[in-house]
């Protein structure tokens, strides 16, 4: 029987009150996943570091407006996602994702835990991830790294639920094909 380790509740209330220990805990929990997500989108180390820092500062400034403490993670990722979009708008247009119609989707997508990668496939996986378009990569990263539910991913990326399903479906399919190509 698998052992499920429940994470302790996030000290969002304490962070709102301005307690440094609470912010230390939030930093320890989110700084690396957030950096990984941002880096995989922007593909530039310094930019990713800047965006993570800016996102945490913005979160500290606006945490009084956060209504649901348990949504801190998706709220923080949403701030970072918006910052990435701002950077792209200044630099170059965002790639347009090829979204499938909702009717083409099946609710049979495996969860992130079902996708296991062998040691020799790790490089190929990262390379294939980098070859996806930005919207597909964003949806897949949020699903894989933080295991956000689809509704949360839709909220973070500012898209409809159907679009998120479509992007995840397409991203998984593309990733599988790229991995198979690399293996062959």
């Amino acid at each position: 029987m698998p052992v499920v380790i429940e994470e302790p509740p996030l000290p969002v209330r304490e962070a709102r009150a301005g307690e440094p220990e609470a912010w230390e805990a939030l930093l320890a929990r989110y700084r690396l996943p957030l950096y990984a997500y941002v880096f995989e989108l922007v593909r530039h180390e310094q930019t990713a570091l800047d965006i993570v820092q800016e996102s945490f500062i913005a979160a500290a400034r606006h945490i009084q407006g956060l209504r649901q403490d348990e949504k801190f993670g998706s709220w923080l990722f949403n701030i970072a996602h918006q910052r990435c979009l701002q950077r792209w708008r200044r630099q170059r247009p965002v790639e347009v994702a090829v979204d499938l119609l909702d009717e083409d989707l099946r609710d049979l997508e495996p969860g992130p835990e079902e996708l296991l990668i062998r040691k020799e496939q790790e490089e190929d996986f990262m390379r294939a991830l980098g070859q996806l378009t930005v919207p597909h990569r964003a949806a897949l990263l949020l699903h894989l790294v933080e295991e956000f539910p689809l509704e949360e991913i839709a909220r973070i990326t500012g898209t409809r639920l159907g679009t998120v399903k479509s992007r995840l479906h397409y991203a998984r399919q593309a990733l599988r094909e790229l991995l198979e190509e690399n293996e062959a």
Partner: protein, 167 residues
């Protein structure tokens, strides 16, 4: 075998040292100042002094040089006006009396007009009234058909109508 999460986080583990530059103390200070601002906002009252201060800060102070220029211009204009000493007199409320010669000419033209129209005195144009009920309509004096014909002629002749209204 690893999960994608493990692979991705491991790949970026090296950035952890740089990410530690983000100080929790600074974030906590940010949150505290934001909380203090939020607490302060509802207590803000609209006192007269505060409004005057805000107007001064937002309207006058940023444009102080422009306002100073406007004031200086008005001072110069007033100074020149006082120096010239020709303060304008108020025009009398009563209109000037008409010249008797003009009145005589107008009287002659009135007579001429009445002769042209075939009446002793030109009829005054009645102010248009809202049509009332037919039963309450008053009959015109004399021959009603003739009187209405004259009124129509007057209305169609703008020169005559203008003269009559002038008189």
């Amino acid at each position: 075998m690893k999960t994608p999460r493990e692979i991705i986080l491991e790949r970026h583990q090296s950035a952890e040292a740089k990410l530690k530059a983000i100080r929790a103390e600074e974030l906590a200070a940010c949150a505290r100042s934001a909380a203090a601002e939020t607490r302060f906002e509802p207590q803000a009252t609209l006192s007269l002094g505060a409004i005057a201060g805000q107007i001064w800060q937002e309207i006058f102070w940023p444009w102080r040089r422009v306002w100073a220029g406007v004031v200086a211009a008005w001072v110069i204009i007033l100074g020149l006006g006082i120096a010239a000493g020709d303060t304008p007199r108020r025009a009398s409320a009563r209109p000037p009396r008409p010249n008797p010669e003009v009145l005589a000419v107008l009287h002659q033209q009135e007579q001429l007009l009445s002769q042209l129209l075939g009446t002793e005195r030109p009829p005054r144009i009645a102010h248009p009234r809202a049509p009332g009920p037919r039963s309450g309509a008053e009959p015109l004096p004399g021959n009603p058909r003739e009187a209405s014909r004259q009124e129509i002629a007057l209305c169609e002749n703008p020169v005559a109508a203008a003269w009559i209204t002038t008189i």
